[in-house]
C-alpha cells in the first residue's frame, strides 16, 4: 500500500479540501480565540441589546447586549475541546477493546462485545441526559459521557476489521515466525484498520458536536460564562420575535461544523475504502 498515493488521491477530492479547510479554520479560531475575537464574549451592555449586524458588532448582539461573533469564536473552543476529547476517549478505548476482542477471541471476545451491545441498546440521547443529570454538567463530565457513548462504534469496527486481518496470510506468517502480539497488532493489524477508524472518527466528531449542542440546548451543557453554541440557540429562542440573529448565527455554525465532519468522512471513505470506490 502506497501511502503517498492515497494521500495524493485524497487531496484531489475537492470535498476534502473545502471541508478540511473549514475544520482547520475552526481549529485555528479556537486556538487563537482571545486574539481574534473583536469583543469580550461576556461583557453585557444594556443599551446595545438585540442589535442587528453592523460595523460595531459584525453579527449583532444577543439579549444581554453581548457580541455574537465573539461568543461564536469562543464557543468554537469549547465545542472542539469537548468533541475532540470525547472522540479521543471513545476511539482509543473502543479500538483497543475491539482489537483485543478480535485478536484473543473466546471468552474475552464474548464478554467485551456483549458489553458493547448492551451499551448500544440504550437510547443514546437518553443515556447522555441521565449521566449528565447524575454527574452534573461540566466540560469534563460532558467529555466522559459523550466519549462513553461512542465507544461501541469503534469497538465494532476494530473488532470486525481485526477478524478479517487476522486471517490474512502474512499475519499468520508473522505469527508463525514468533512475532510478539503487540508487534503483530502494531505492525500488521493497526495500519489495516486505520482507514475505517479515521472515517469513524470524523463521523463521530460530527455526532459529538450534535450531541453536545443538543445537551447544551436542554440546559445540560457546559456552564456560563464560556459560551456554548447550543446554549446560545436555547437562550435566543425566547427572543426570536425581537431579533432573529441570536438564533441564526449559532445555528448556521453548528450545522456547518457537523456537515464538514460528515462530508469529510464521506470523502475519505470514498477514496480509501476500495470496496466503495467506484
Amino acid at each position: 500500500m502506497n501511502r503517498f498515493k492515497s494521500i495524493k488521491r485524497l487531496l484531489k477530492d475537492f470535498r476534502i479540501i473545502i471541508c478540511g479547510l473549514f475544520i482547520l479554520l475552526l481549529a485555528l479560531t479556537a486556538i487563537f480565540a482571545p486574539i481574534i475575537a473583536p469583543h469580550s464574549f461576556s461583557q453585557m451592555n444594556t443599551l446595545d441589546r438585540f442589535s442587528g449586524p453592523g460595523p460595531e458588532f459584525l453579527l449583532g448582539t444577543d439579549e444581554f447586549g453581548r457580541d455574537i461573533l465573539s461568543r461564536l469564536i469562543h464557543g468554537a473552543r469549547l465545542t472542539l475541546i469537548i468533541s475532540l476529547g470525547a472522540v479521543a476517549i471513545s476511539s482509543v478505548i473502543g479500538t483497543l477493546a475491539g482489537l483485543i476482542a478480535g485478536y484473543s477471541g473466546g471468552w474475552t471476545e464474548n464478554i467485551l462485545m456483549r458489553l458493547m451491545d448492551a451499551l448500544f441498546s440504550f437510547p443514546p440521547f437518553l443515556l447522555a441526559i441521565f449521566v449528565i443529570v447524575f454527574l452534573g454538567p461540566s466540560v469534563i463530565n460532558l467529555i466522559l459521557t459523550i466519549g462513553l457513548l461512542y465507544i461501541p462504534r469503534f469497538a465494532r469496527i476494530a473488532h470486525s476489521s481485526t477478524l478479517l486481518v487476522k486471517e490474512l496470510e502474512y499475519v499468520e506468517a508473522a505469527q508463525a515466525l514468533g512475532a510478539s502480539i503487540p508487534r503483530i497488532i502494531g505492525r500488521h493489524i493497526l495500519p489495516n484498520i486505520f482507514a475505517p477508524i479515521m472515517v469513524q472518527m470524523s463521523l463521530t466528531l460530527g455526532a459529538a458536536v450534535l450531541l453536545e449542542s443538543g445537551l447544551s440546548f436542554l440546559g445540560l451543557g457546559p456552564p456560563p460564562p464560556t459560551p456554548s453554541w447550543g446554549r446560545m440557540v436555547q437562550q435566543s429562542a425566547r427572543f426570536m420575535q425581537m431579533s432573529p440573529y441570536g438564533i441564526i448565527w449559532p445555528s448556521v455554525i453548528i450545522s456547518l461544523t457537523v456537515l464538514s465532519f460528515n462530508i469529510f468522512a464521506d470523502a475519505v471513505r470514498d477514496n480509501l475504502d476500495p470496496r466503495l470506490r467506484q
Binding site: F130, S213, A237, P244, L259, N262
Partner: protein, 318 residues
Amino acid sequence: MSQYLLKRLGLTIILLWLVATILFYFVHLLPGDPAMVVLGGGEQHQPTAEQLARVREQLGLEDPLMVQYSRYLGGLIRGDLGNSFVNQRPVTLDLRIRLTRSLQLIIPAMVLASLLGIFLGILAAGRRGKFSDFFFSGIALTGFSVPVFVSGNILVLIFAINLRVLPSAGYANLFEDPSRWLSYAILPIVSLSLAPLANVMRMTRTSMLEQFNQDYVRTVRAKGVSERVITYRHVLRNALLPVITLIGMQTGILFAGSVIVENVFNWPGLSTLLIRSIGSRDYPVIQGTVLLTSFLFILVNLVTDLSYAFINPKVRYK
C-alpha cells in the same frame, strides 16, 4: 428459526431486566430529595426533619433499597409502575396519554422519512454522477448534519414568525380537532423527519448502487430488459432489505430523539414528562418513562432483527 427466536427473546428479557435494574439504582442515587418537592420546596416554612421523614415513609423511601427494589420489580411484572409522587396518579395512566401524543409525531415523521427517502434515494441512484445525484446527496448530508433544535427553530422563524401561517408551538388533540392538530404537528413532524429521511435516502442510494454492480443485473441487462424494469423489478427488491433495517433502527432512535423536538415545540409527549419528572425527582414517573422508551427502542430493534432474519436465512445461523 424458532430456536433463534427464543434466544433473541431471552436476550431481550435479560436486557430489559438489566435496564430496569440499572435505572432503579441510578434514579435512587440521584441527588435531591423527592419528599422536599412533595412538601412544596420549603417556599415559606422549611419542612422539619420529622415532616420529611414522614413523607419519605409514605412514599416508601424509608425501606431498605432491596425491599424497594423487589417491590418495584414485582410491580413491573404485574404491569404496575406505581403512582407518581407528585400527583399520585398511576404512572401507567400518564404514560398512555403521553405515548399516544409522542406517537402522533413519530409515526408520521417515520412514514414521511421512509417514503420520501426511498423515492429520493432511487432517484439519486438512477442519476449517479449527474448533478441531481450530487444535489440530493448534498441535501441528505445537510439533513442529518443539522440538529433538530436548529431545523425546528428555523422552521418556527419562517412559518410562525415571518409568514405567520402556523403556530410556533403547542398541541391540539388529534381526535377532537384534526385540522388544528395538523397546524401544530406539521412543523415538529417535518423537523423530526429530516435526519431519518437523510439516512434512508443515503442508504437506498448506496444499496441500489451495490445491487446494480451484481452479476445478476448484468445478466438481466444482457437479456435486453429495460433499465426501468431492472430498477423496479429486480434491484429495488433486493436493495430495500438494508433500508428496512435502517428504518427500524431510526424509529427506535426517534423514541428517544424526540426529546428536543418536543421541547422546541412544547409538545406534551413522553419527553416533556421525563424532563419534568427528573426535575421533581418523581422516581416512579422517571422509571416508567425511561423503561417505556427503552422497551420500545429494544422492541423495535428486535422486530427489525427478526424480520431481517426471516427474510435472510443466512443470519439465523451466525
